[in-house]
């Protein structure tokens, strides 16, 4: 089983040189720590910046420079600042090549639910609905099961949707899967996890073809 950093590390292998990438809050943010050598990507933050740099040193925070998680950040040379409409123009217009975000549930047709639990306080979808409806390449980073041990990879989402048929790949603590017309296609197992374990933890349709290799981290 992978931990949060392991999931991030595996997702980082999907990065391609020259991509613009939007990382959601939580595990996705950690992806930035594992960019493969020789690959260079730029981070977009949907509140309005490209070329996001590391967190500032203590005392160097600028209240006028935050990321979409409202954290103080810095900028790298080559970065740029823009307003919210241009920010989502680049997202909606598919100029950002990859979005990585967390989810509560993913269905085997690519539906995703990650913003609302009926009966609980709803904080809002922020930019998630725009991101999932737009990017060609959506990777979900999440645990395979919830705290009660129930599968988060479903035949159909039970929670209100964030987007339909949009997720392309799911990386969990147990497996890497592509979304295909036949369901979750198992590509890799996490170290120490068997295909049987994954089958048991997956409620949605799971396609297992041939030998499933273990992830190389």
């Amino acid at each position: 089983m992978l931990d949060r950093n392991g999931i991030a590390q595996r997702i980082a292998q999907e990065l391609q040189d020259g991509w613009y990438v939007n990382l959601g809050i939580g595990i996705p943010t950690l992806v930035a720590n594992y960019i493969p050598k020789g690959i260079s990507v730029e981070f977009q933050s949907e509140n309005g910046l490209l070329g996001m740099g590391p967190f500032p040193f203590d005392g160097e925070e600028d209240a006028d420079l935050i990321n979409a998680g409202k954290q103080t950040v810095t900028m790298l040379p080559g970065g740029s600042i823009f307003d919210s409409s241009l920010s989502f123009a680049m997202i909606r217009g598919k100029h950002v090549q990859l979005t990585v975000l967390g989810a509560m549930e993913v269905a085997d047709n690519g539906d995703i639910a990650n913003w609302k639990i009926p009966g609980k306080m709803v904080k809002g979808m922020g930019g998630a609905m725009d991101l999932v409806a737009s990017a060609d390449n959506i990777i979900v980073a999440m645990a395979h099961t919830n705290k009660r041990g129930q599968s988060k990879l479903l035949r159909q989402c039970t929670l209100p949707l964030t987007g339909v048929k949009c997720v392309k790949k799911v990386v969990t603590n147990m497996a890497v899967m592509d979304i295909t017309p036949d369901g979750f296609k198992l590509l890799e197992r996490a170290p120490g996890v068997s295909v049987e374990d994954i089958k048991n933890a997956t409620e949605g349709r799971l396609v297992v073809e041939g030998e499933i290799p273990e992830m190389q981290l």
């Binding site: 590391p54 203590d58 925070e61 420079l65 919210s84 409409s85 920010s87 989502f88 709803v122 209100p160």
Partner: protein, 258 residues
């Protein structure tokens, strides 16, 4: 082609107004303070309020609005502030009837009012919110976007396929007043924003029937290079230099010194 028009061509007369023009009398949108700037806001109005989280919010205008006491307001703003800052100050006074936002976490009083039904909340995807403001300012009454298709955001909205992909029709947003924060501005209302404090401020400035701007630095027009202006003054009705900016940071995040 490339001909030089000389005297005799009567269009040449044009712009001779310039020689009699008193440059100091052109366009003055400057008001004294926040109180004067928000004059005319009354209960029941719809306001747009710039900012993302606490970054780039019109602190002076919000304070003046607390003093003014207008209530039953509909506020279009990406977020709702925190308990004791930003729009949270208006929530404390129960001045807001309805919030139109994309994300409203981090605010206990908000949660209480929302769960008790005192406060209406209309949640809109962030990109659609930004584009709907811009559309309001740009005379585009409606546009199609893929965001929200197949979700509860699409309830009751027209769906249409373009290139095989479903989109929903979203309409423009307008406001009686837009309250906007910029870094620098001049008496023409020309604005320059700083860092990510830009966010929703320019598009909301476009969409207000009356757009009020508070700036950290009110400068002379010739101090701003026309080429570097983020938002032309044509969208702005009132401008003033704000005071005592707190610029609170919501998530101060730092890295260790190596």
């Amino acid at each position: 082609m490339n001909s030089i028009l000389r005297s005799g061509n009567d269009e040449l007369l044009s712009y001779l107004w310039y020689s009699t023009l008193n440059l100091n009398k052109r366009m003055n949108k400057v008001v004294k303070d926040a109180k004067e700037a928000i004059e005319g806001i009354t209960s029941g109005m719809t306001l747009m309020v710039g900012g993302f989280g606490l970054c780039g919010i019109p602190e002076n205008c919000i304070s003046a609005l607390v003093d003014l006491g207008a209530n039953n307001l509909t506020c279009i703003s990406n977020n709702a502030g925190v308990d004791d800052f930003g729009l949270g100050l208006l929530l404390q006074q129960k001045q807001i009837k309805k919030m139109i936002s994309s994300y409203v976490g981090e605010n206990d009083e908000f949660e209480r009012q929302m769960l008790s039904g005192e406060l209406e909340v209309d949640l809109i995807p962030q990109g659609s919110l930004a584009e709907r403001c811009r559309a309001g300012g740009a005379g585009i009454p409606a546009f199609f976007t893929p965001a929200g298709y197949g979700t509860e955001v699409a309830f009751g909205k027209e769906v249409r396929y373009f290139d095989g992909k479903p989109h929903i029709l979203e309409s423009a947003l307008h406001a009686d007043f837009a309250l906007v924060k910029a870094w620098k501005g001049d008496r023409f209302g020309n604005l320059i924003f700083k860092g990510t404090a830009r966010n929703f401020n320019p598009v909301m400035a476009m969409a207000g029937k009356i757009t009020v701007v508070e700036v950290e630095h009110l400068v002379e027009p010739d101090e701003l290079d026309p080429n570097t202006i983020h938002l032309p003054g044509v969208f702005v009705q009132r401008i003033f230099e704000g005071k005592n900016y707190e610029k609170r940071i919501e998530q101060r995040t730092v890295r260790p010194v190596e």
